[in-house]
Amino acid sequence: MDTNGMPQSPAGDWRSYERMLLPPIQDLHELNVYEEHGGYDRLRRVLEDDEFAPGDVTDAVKASGLTGRGGAGFPTGIKWTFMPEPDDRPRFIGVNADESEPGTFKDRQVMEYNPHLMLEGILLAGYALHIDTAYVYIRGEYTDWIVHLKKQLQKAYEAGYVGEDIMGSGFTMDIVLHKGAGAYICGEETSLMESLEGKRGYPRYKPPFPAQSGIFGSPTTINNAETLAHVPLIVEQGGEAYSNIGAGDMPGPALYGMSGHVKKPGVYEFPTGMPLTDLIHDVCGGMARDKAMKAFVPGGSSTPPIRAENIDGLTMNDESLGEVGSRTGTFCPLVLDEETDMVSFLRRVAHFYQDETCGQCTPCREGTSWLEKILARIDEGEGRMRDIDLLLELCDNMDGGRTICAFADGAVGPVRATVKRFRDEFAAKCQASVHPVSTDVSAGAESAVAATE
């Protein structure tokens, strides 16, 4: 389907898209302004309307096709159906606002500009899943946002939207803010639960899954902060209508957190499925230094970078990015121009994972540190040709179920992809190495030899 000679993208006519998550309304974060614009009406409707059973909210979310915005893209409605029937145990929601993935800064915007949308979403989810308490786990560095959210939550409590017998419906639910202490790993859902319980943020192995045994061993659903902010929109429009927004495989609005070498970085709201080139050139005003682009990292540092020459025709949804071996992640792209040294880039990314691994699993603890050391030495011009294959081999020894959580997969993804896709740059740095032995050694599979050579 062509329109004006332009291929139609899943994002459709994004130029005339009207924002829903972050609408342009002055002081929307204030409860009264939010109320003036229909705030908490959706919750009221669900609570007051006898026709609206908890299961209907879940059904609407299922029909909407909403996928999680925390990075893994799991269908939210399906996740909710994993919750067991209510029994005598308390039930919890963990709202994941730990937002620490490098390059990701969109949950913050929701909390700043539209906190009540998120709170309303939490309450709707709470109603759907018979939740007693929702814990909002917020990244420790977000001090200002914690203060801000606390104030708004207080107002919601005072207005009777949260707490005992909400709006006289008999539904009771608490929302508790919990401040993280500055660890990326606490954004991993099982680690988040441990941390909430006051323990060291060590992920748990699964099964059991959170729905069976989560926070304090009770049924729990963990959702990203932004994900829950979508729920009122779904309840308002109905799942069907929502599912027609954006890309079919992961529909709805999305917050694109653009950073890197673009003229106008920032958080932009558009439907999912945006063409990458439109995002860079039309939304962000093009490349910052008017240089050619080298790489595009679609959604956080753990999503595999895509070479610039491959981005034409790609759109921001997993179906499309999957074709080039990447994924949407958190929908927060990082754009790199031709001046970027991919070895240095990867070294910095590897440093992050080395620093942030919780360190309980052997391959992840030792592997992330080893990867960084190799990358540092290549970057400093001391690499051996065989280091390149060693990097790839170590990646194979770290992921694919060899560890407890997906951190190792996230740490390994960018290394494998960057080394494979930009191998020439790594080779060039090794070739110029001051170590004559290494330049002679071919870069074949056999090239990684023991330390005793």
């Binding site: 790993i185 360190g359 309980q360 030792e366 080893w370 990684a448």
Partner: protein, 579 residues
């Protein structure tokens, strides 16, 4: 019964079980570090990976899909599984490193990672020689290392507490130690600090790891990261022999190993017995080893007037016998001992009977409130229950104390105890009383009053039986040699030591540090014979115990064979009913 197939062999199983533990129970070794059967499963070492499959089921009918030969078709999980977390399911098929190259390689890869930052200071490490990391690296590890960088440096000698010192570089972060304090001892004193390769266990700032069970973390640490402040760098594992036995610090009768080099006990570690102490041993049970080495007597002696003279065994036996012969039987007090074995106490009862004196009594050593409802008991003796079953009752300390003071006894016959330090009487009270004393250490406060002093073998030097507070009879074996020749001790030592086939140049033939003492079961018959009664057990304590268990219902079934290494529970008896 449900079945599981491991490396082509099919096993039946019952109930809910984890794959790793099941394999270990079947004698199928799988490398592992973090898993410990007494604690929660963290699955963090990632060493126990295996390939797991299930019979393929037809989606519609739910029937198992079978191949041409009628065998179920197996669908393997694409990812390797940590066997410590896998629940057995009927029909499960497992491939270990023995049948799967993928598993074999994955285990090797994991060890390569484990060793990258490990200091490999095995040549000076206490754990070397029985180190799970060392052993499994040799078995499953890579040939060399591809790691060409400086290893991380972490604190090398952190005093976590008075008894445990950490070498953080050796730590492999298995969290066994922190889980122990969280889940087993429940002191919650240890946690892991830092992230990634800088991880290591530590106490909270300003806190000290003084858990009364702290030293168990040393045993369960799979590397040499946690060391005993006391034992650190003292001996290599292969220089010592370890003898399975029990501790005598209290009435638990915890099973242990005595580690001996050159006839000196250097440390005491727990020995698994699920009916007694499981895997654990309190610190206070371990740090008593010096009493077996220090302040031991130079040999028997005799006191004439106030002069003590070194004597020999023949003379001291004769002296003891003549004292028994010359005293008025009604003015002889026999004191049995809750420290001594059932056999020794039994012979003492017989001797008392032959002499015509009252039955022996024993001195209780109870510290109310000292116990913890776990492995530490108020009773600080190992065999009070054994005494009671033999009909030996506690002394009435007030009455007997005043009788001694009032010189109502001519002779006190004390088996392996110390009435003066126990407060039964003072040394001065004994000025006009003769004392025959079987004793362990020269610190014994009754020793200065002993007319005939007989150095007795301690638990590490003897053979015998103890009954713990739960009525469990357990036997002990000699862990170190004493002077003189005793066939029974030699046989017991020879058959249970790994170093059985040594040469005279090996350490266990070392004459150093052998104590000139004898087990009471050797001394008592000698004295009895000289006194003129017929007491003869040529086969030693085994024969004595056989007689005890066949003649006294309270000990029925407690033969040496039955007790073996783990002991036997005895029938309950009412206190006092035993006689």
């Amino acid at each position: 019964m449900p079945i599981v197939t491991v490396d082509g062999t099919t096993y039946e199983y019952e109930g809910e079980q984890k794959l790793l533990q099941f394999c270990l129970n079947q004698g199928i070794e799988l490398p592992h570090f973090c898993y410990h059967p007494a604690m929660s499963i963290p699955a963090n070492c990632r060493q126990c990976l295996v390939k797991v499959g299930m019979p393929k089921e037809d989606r519609e009918s739910g029937e198992v899909v079978r191949d041409d030969e009628g065998e179920p078709e197996i669908q393997y999980f694409p990812q390797l599984q940590a066997s410590c977390t896998v629940d057995l399911r009927d029909g499960m098929v497992v491939k270990t490193h023995r049948t799967s190259e993928e598993v074999d390689q994955a285990q090797t890869d994991n060890l390569e990672f484990l060793l990258t930052n490990h200091p490999l200071d095995c040549p000076i490490c206490d754990q070397a020689g029985h180190c799970p990391l060392q052993i499994q690296s040799y078995k499953y590890g890579p040939e060399g290392s591809r790691f060409e960088f400086r290893k991380v440096h972490k604190p090398k000698r952190v005093k976590l507490g008075p008894r445990v010192t950490l070498d953080a570089e050796r730590c492999i972060n298995c969290t066994r130690c922190t889980r122990f304090t969280d889940e087993v001892s429940e002191s919650n004193q240890l946690t892991i600090a830092n992230r990634g390769v800088k991880n290591h266990p530590i106490t909270a700032p300003g806190e000290t790891f003084d858990d009364p069970y702290s030293m168990n973390t040393i045993d369960i640490c799979p590397v040499g990261a946690l060391t005993s402040a006391d034992f650190r760098f003292k001996a290599r594992i292969w220089e010592m022999s370890s003898t399975p036995s029990i501790t005598t610090t209290n009435a638990t009768g915890a099973n242990c190993h005595y580690w001996v080099r050159d006839n000196q006990v250097l440390r005491i570690t727990p020995r698994q017995n699920m009916d007694v102490n499981e895997y654990w041993l309190p610190d206070e049970d371990r740090l008593v080893y010096n009493k077996f080495n220090d302040n031991r007597p130079p040999g028997p002696h005799i006191r004439r007037d106030d002069a003590r003279t070194q004597s020999n065994w023949e003379q001291v036996y004769a002296r003891a016998a003549s004292l028994l012969g010359s005293a008025d039987p009604e003015r002889i007090l026999f004191l049995g001992s809750a420290y001594a074995t059932v056999e020794d106490n039994y012979l003492l009862t017989q001797l008392a009977e032959a002499v015509g004196a009252d039955a022996p009594r024993y001195l209780p050593h109870v510290e109310p409130g000292a116990g913890d409802d776990w492995l530490i008991t108020d009773d600080k003796t190992p065999n009070a229950a054994g005494c009671e079953r033999l009909g030996i009752r506690p002394v009435d300390e007030e009455l007997v104390g005043s009788q001694i003071k009032g010189d109502e006894y001519d002779l006190l016959y004390v088996l392996e105890d110390d009435p003066v330090s126990a407060g039964l009487c003072t040394a001065d009270d004994l000025a006009d009383t003769d004392v025959v004393l079987h004793y362990y250490n020269t610190t014994n406060e009754t020793l200065s009053r002993a007319t005939a002093a007989l150095p007795a073998a301690m638990v590490v030097e003897t053979v015998g039986t103890y009954v713990n507070q739960d009525g469990r009879a357990q036997r002990v074996r000699p862990a170190k040699e004493i002077q003189g020749v005793n066939r029974t001790l030699m046989m017991e030592m020879g058959t249970n030591r790994e170093d059985e086939h040594g040469t005279p140049f090996d350490r266990w033939h070392n004459d150093e540090n052998r104590i000139n003492c004898k087990p009471s079961w050797e001394m008592l018959p000698k004295i009895a014979q000289r006194y003129g009664t017929d007491m003869d057990y040529p086969k030693g304590p085994e024969q004595i115990m056989d007689e005890v268990q066949s003649t006294m219902a309270a000990f029925e079934g407690a033969t040496y064979d039955a007790m073996g290494l783990k002991g036997v529970p005895l029938e309950d008896v009412e206190a006092g009913e035993a006689v």
